[in-house]
Assembly symmetry: C2
Homo-oligomer: 347 residues x 2
């Protein structure tokens, strides 16, 4: 079997003793890579969005922990487990909303607790396991989600949830890939995703790599697109899912869910179990990252707005569970997510 | 009384025998003016969006007819009324959605029919009358709309509906001006209004001219802003209103109306009677202008999306009447617009 072209897109990779990140700020104009040799560089890459997407930043952080352990153990073999706490905190603080970041760091921390001697190989293997499990979860979610889609469908996605945002293949975009391969999708629409334009810069680029047709829209055009009957499913990822099914995802997702409900368009969230935060009971408790006003007030570094304007720039919003028809995770599909169904999953 | 600063913003003005247009493509970086001496230049300025906003393009077209009449009469005094039809068609075709353009050209055509001899002065006076009536209508709508707003309100607007979009003062922004002057508004939120960024470039500039606080948001953040309880009214203009109250306005308006309804936020349309098209019974019949894909695929002339991506770029959408709480026009307020109420108005 010829490997599909998307396997060539590796946002996060371990390469010759360091973490190699595809710098997503330069796409689609340039395909540049960053080489991170320590946790501070990884945390900075996450904070500055060289790597983004909830699963991808979790994986990057796991490799970051492995890098940190190598350095801390080399510097002070007796006390490295105390010293590495600084690195873990740095990684945890890099972005506040995606729970995958915390999940990955906590898993690495648990591994650290069980180690004796040089931690290098064991932690690198743990990071690799997280990475491989994410790709496998995406493949499985792709199958499960694609099975829900009727042949001849137009679908709409938001932000970027593909190979660039994950360990590989993608969450929402993985479902779209699988459904497209199965001949079920006639047209993919992608919101450009202001202010960072992940849809225009990243999703269009990923789909173009594979020859899939993609039509960009202004995010605000989605409701009118649905009114035209062009969309059967809205398919999105998630950065954190609360115990009641409320879902934090890229700003604009909530608007899509409202428009979908008005038009009888189905709404699918595709996210691995690591996205679930059972510590919180509703979306109100999810911390929402505020990004710099400059992302709204400038374009390509040039001011676009009048000098006295300010901006409110939340990076995520909350879609209430009542607007979600299906949450696809690697264990199955939760239809109409609700607390009891989610407790059963987490149990 | 000191004249308010907004009177200094004149998007459309008759100046020394020609039409002077503030070139809105250059704002807020540069305040440039175009001097149009004939109908083709006016039609081009409308088509290319040097002048935009439904009332403003109607007024510009009226002056364009006056310019055309001067030239056609000078060239052929006996047959100018036939010859000018070419100019009228050019102006009518410049943009398809705003009915004010057609309304203004038809009013000028009616005047032409009644004229004998040199039409120059009479048609210039007719254009001036249209212009002055628009400003007066805006002032009146400002009072009527402001009366609906509760003290201490946050309001959200979309696109630009101010002095730049009208003969002066503004429609939706006129209501916001009047309500702000009355001390009722604590915060103005403005959607940046992709793809053309009228909110960021024009509305923020206009409000900053008057020292009013304005906070820009990504259009897709509006629903989440409402979920935070920050908005009591959404206040927008209109390009065409059908006989049943369905309203065409800048793309994204419909999304705002859906989010407003979900959150109990009131939705106000502010547009003069000239925006009503009684020839059509519902929004389905309103022609929606498709703008070039390049507006989505490039930023500041630089490509932003992958080379193989396409875009769907409707400039307007339709907000169904059932989502509109109040239509403010210069004769009063139509609450919950519906066919019978609108027929009574037009009668």
């Amino acid at each position: 079997m010829t490997p599909p072209a998307h396997d060539s897109v590796r946002a996060v990779a371990w390469d010759d003793g360091a973490l190699r990140l595809l710098d997503q700020r330069a796409l689609p104009q340039r395909v540049d890579y960053l080489r991170c040799t320590g946790a501070p560089a990884v945390a900075r890459a996450i904070h500055d969005m060289a790597v983004r997407g909830a699963p991808a930043i979790g994986i990057a952080a796991a490799y970051g922990v492995a890098l940190a352990a190598r350095a801390r153990y080399a510097a002070a073999p007796a006390t490295w487990k105390q010293a590495i706490e600084t690195d873990l905190a740095l990684l945890l603080d890099a972005r506040p909303t995606a729970v995958n970041l915390r999940w990955a760091v906590e898993r690495m921390r648990a591994k650290i607790g069980a180690l004796a001697g040089d931690p290098g190989e064991a932690l690198l293997n743990e990071a690799r396991a997280i990475h491989e499990a994410d790709v496998a979860a995406n493949r499985r979610m792709g199958e499960l989600g694609a099975a829900l889609i009727e042949p001849g469908s137009g679908v709409l996605t938001h932000c970027n949830t593909g190979a660039l945002a994950t360990g590989g293949y993608g969450t929402a975009l993985g479902v779209i890939r699988a459904a497209y391969a199965a001949g079920k999708i006639t047209q993919v629409y992608a919101g450009e995703t202001r202010p960072w334009l992940q849809g225009a810069r990243l999703t269009a680029w990923e789909l173009a790599q594979e020859g899939m047709p993609v039509t960009l829209i202004a995010d605000s055009a989605a409701a009118y697109l649905m009114a035209q009957g062009k969309v059967r499913w809205v398919i999105v990822g998630a950065d954190r899912i609360a115990g009641n099914g409320d879902t934090a995802n890229k700003i604009g997702t909530y608007s899509l869910a409202l428009a979908a409900r008005r038009h009888g368009v189905k709404f699918m969230v595709v996210a691995p179990l690591a996205t679930l935060d059972t510590n919180i009971s509703s979306g109100r408790e999810i911390p929402i990252e505020q990004r710099p006003a400059g992302e709204i007030l400038t374009l390509n570094g040039q001011p676009v707005a009048a000098p006295f304007a300010t901006a409110w720039n939340p990076s995520f919003d909350i879609t209430p569970a009542d607007l979600i028809d299906a949450w696809v995770n690697e264990t199955g599909v939760v239809f109409q997510p609700a607390p009891a169904k989610i407790r059963a999953l987490a149990g």
